[in-house]
Amino acid sequence: MGRVAIIGASMTQFGQREGEWIQDLLAEAGIECLEDAGVDADDVEHLYVSNMASGEFEGQTGVPNALAHDLDAMPAYTQRIDQTSSSGGAGIYAAWQSVASGASDMTMLVGGEKMTHKTTGEATDVIASLTHPAEYKHGVTLPSFAGLTARHYLERFDAPRESLGKVAVKNHKNGVDNPHAQFQTEVDLETVLESPIVADPLRLYDFCPITDGSAALMLCPESIAKEYADEYAVITGIDGATDTHVVHEREDPTVMGGVVESGKGAYEMSGYGPDDIDVAELHDMFTILEFLQMEGLGFAEQGEAWKRVEEGHTERDGELPINTSGGLKSKGHPLGASGVAQGVEIYEQLVGEAGPRQVDADVGLCCNVGGFGNCVITTIMEAAQ
């Protein structure tokens, strides 16, 4: 079987997109991605839309069909991919399958979400609707899972509270150089540590913001990629896995089984190990998640990710730059777009289009987390020409 290539990418401005709705955002990223790849809408055979909750947020469903019409990509096959916060990563997997199975020779993936017209309480509730009734009735939210897990991690591994803050500081610093990021401002550690408490011990700056935005990728067989581009990326490893729906039923609160399993699958498929990864995008919806993914993916031993962060290992000029895009933390987190935007960053790093954020990388990884580790997708890409 031939390999699956990525030949184009785009993302809209992330942030509060006043007066623009889900259909507008998806169409904007879709059109830009077609242009970036030099592909006609007519040539798109499959069109996947990663989106968690357009109906819940906006009362607009059927957005894949709307997008196909708005791009004039009919009669391309289209479908919505929902895997909550990891819908974007799941979209990469679906797009990969569509090409690898021979069903499509040109697949566009567009992820997006429109969220900022709702209050923080309402948006938090829409996201918390993924919880089990036994969790939901207690008012459990995703941020509260993060608070519970962060306290356990800090107490158990004797990690300093500051180490979590340093994840936020690093990712904000990276975001300054991302023109599409919601926040393009540095924050210092003191600001993070003195920001208002959201879910004790975590504070406002430990959390990503609520965001509108969209991102897109174009996938095709490697044989076809060469007709469109000299430089492209190839997906050499990809896998997804689930963990319990009920979060407290997991054996170890600091181990996300979905991260471990999907990572193993992606490593095995690509033939790479953690040491071969040159750049990674991790799902830092909450600072603590960056630690859990570093450990689950083998970038650090259990309970030691905080040390690598403290040592500057994950800085853009460190040994393993993590979240060079600014991460969800500064770039923002439009649910369905985030996993796609992770892919956009790794693609741009591999083909040398990351501008001031550019690092030296042949192999990149992204890890997209749905729920609180309920569903996880890990993707490994490498540069090709």
């Binding site: 309480g121 207690h138 519970l148 962060a150 306290r151 407290h248």
Partner: protein, 119 residues
């Protein structure tokens, strides 16, 4: 009202119960956790709460020991003045959050349940 956990045919217990337990095992009986005490594994105080939820909302993951088999639960705390490792007991509450205020269909689930109170 009880706080029902489910025991499966491989001896494992979960709260809440599922149609199939870990490894696909079948449910065999229920156990009322409200008769036991538990230990706090971790806790948080959430200040950004969704519609219909008290603010702040104190939450904990706790662990029950049921005849040697441990089973965890998540739930509200009666107070934010706790530490990891504290012993708590379930106390019944009529309505843990306002059933109609959030996104969840009110009829689709129960809204009463148990908070955890330090012993």
């Amino acid at each position: 009202m009880t706080m029902e956990a489910t025991r499966y045919d491989d001896g494992s217990i979960t709260y809440p119960g599922h149609p199939r337990g870990p490894g696909g095992s079948e449910p065999v009986e229920t156990i009322d956790l409200s008769e036991y005490t538990a230990e706090i594994v971790t806790w948080t105080t959430s200040t950004a709460t969704p519609p219909g939820v008290r603010e702040p909302n104190h939450l904990a993951i706790v662990e029950f020991d049921v005849e040697g088999e441990s089973v965890r639960a998540i739930g509200q705390l009666t107070t934010g003045d706790v530490e990891t490792g504290d012993e708590v007991r379930p106390v019944y509450v009529d309505e843990l959050r306002d059933p109609g205020a959030g996104i969840r269909e009110p009829e689709s689930q129960a809204w009463d349940g148990y908070r955890f109170e330090p012993v």
